[in-house]
Amino acid sequence: MSIFPSPSVTRLLQVLALALVAAAPCVHAETSEQILDQYRTQAGTAPDPSRGQQFFTSKHDHEWSCSSCHGDKPVQTGKHVVTGKSIGPLAPAFNQERFTNTAKVEKWFRRNCNDVVGRECTPAEKADVISWLLTLK
């Protein structure tokens, strides 16, 4: 008997390998550190937590700050400033689901930065904010 698997077994292995690769994104969740890293790389500068806090809690020539909905220290449940609906804590230490999906994070940065700053946030601003949120324990 050959030490090489028969063609059909090889085929089966190939299919299994393919399935594993295809399934990988389903089980793979990103971590907040990985997402911070992506922004850090794009920004090309080191994130600064205190700058992030400043950015988050201040108004930027618009009606609301990030804190208007998320609270000054987003370790607790926030409240949507228009509808009053509660919003789970933003700091990852208090809400495991936060910053685990790049597409979701990008969607909300896009929306909320437009509401608060009137434009998209820069990678550096995003990295600053996340680095601050990660210091909240």
Partner: protein, 192 residues
């Protein structure tokens, strides 16, 4: 849409089908003049319930839903933008389920009657409620006509609760599509 989110949605719809089967038996018994509730498309539940409950699609006409999902960048004062594929999918589902609001009796008098008339006239003229709002629809004011009048007054000037669009301040099971009057409580701020 990516395979990954599709897979998540399929998993979610399996759970949802189960839950909604359990729910619909309850809803049937209580369906007097209640809103026609359907199980929510998982994608709709996911994308349209972060800032308020996911409203029942039957509560607005198809044209209103079309305008809403195609103008999410300017959505009642906030940016709720989504990618085009998601918008298309939501639009298809919403418009297919649209326009199932109960035909409500005309409120005989008082504040409910005034609002009802104003909104009814607008609807007759344009085919949709002002601002494409459920809360500016004539059926909404017809159905709430028997609400205690102290509650009404406060509702109308919208000081006591954040917003009447927030159905779940009073309807404790609104997020499940159940608006039965047996599951209504007066929010603390409205108690006399």
């Amino acid at each position: 849409m990516s395979n990954r989110s599709n897979a998540a949605i399929h998993a979610a719809s399996a759970c949802l089908a189960f839950a909604s089967a359990a729910l619909s038996s309850v809803a049937l018994a209580e369906e007097e003049r209640n809103i026609h509730s359907v199980p929510l498309l998982p994608l709709y539940q996911q994308e349209c319930s972060a800032c308020h409950i996911a409203y029942q699609p039957g509560m607005l006409p198809a044209g209103s839903w079309q305008r809403i999902v195609n103008n999410l960048k300017q959505h009642y004062g906030v940016n709720a933008s989504l990618d085009e594929d998601t918008v298309k999918e939501l639009e298809q589902w919403l418009t297919a389920q649209a326009d199932r609001a109960p035909a409500m009796p005309v409120p005989p008098e008082g504040h409910a009657a005034r609002s009802w008339l104003a909104f009814k006239l607008f609807e007759v003229e344009t085919g949709h409620p002002p601002e494409d709002r459920i809360t500016r629809s004539s059926w909404f004011w017809g159905i709430h006509q028997r609400m205690p009048s102290a509650m009404w007054r406060q509702l109308e000037n919208q000081k006591a609760i954040k917003s009447i669009s927030n159905c779940d301040t009073c309807h404790t099971t609104a997020d499940k599509g159940n608006f039965s009057k047996h599951n209504v409580r007066a929010p603390a701020a409205l108690k006399p």
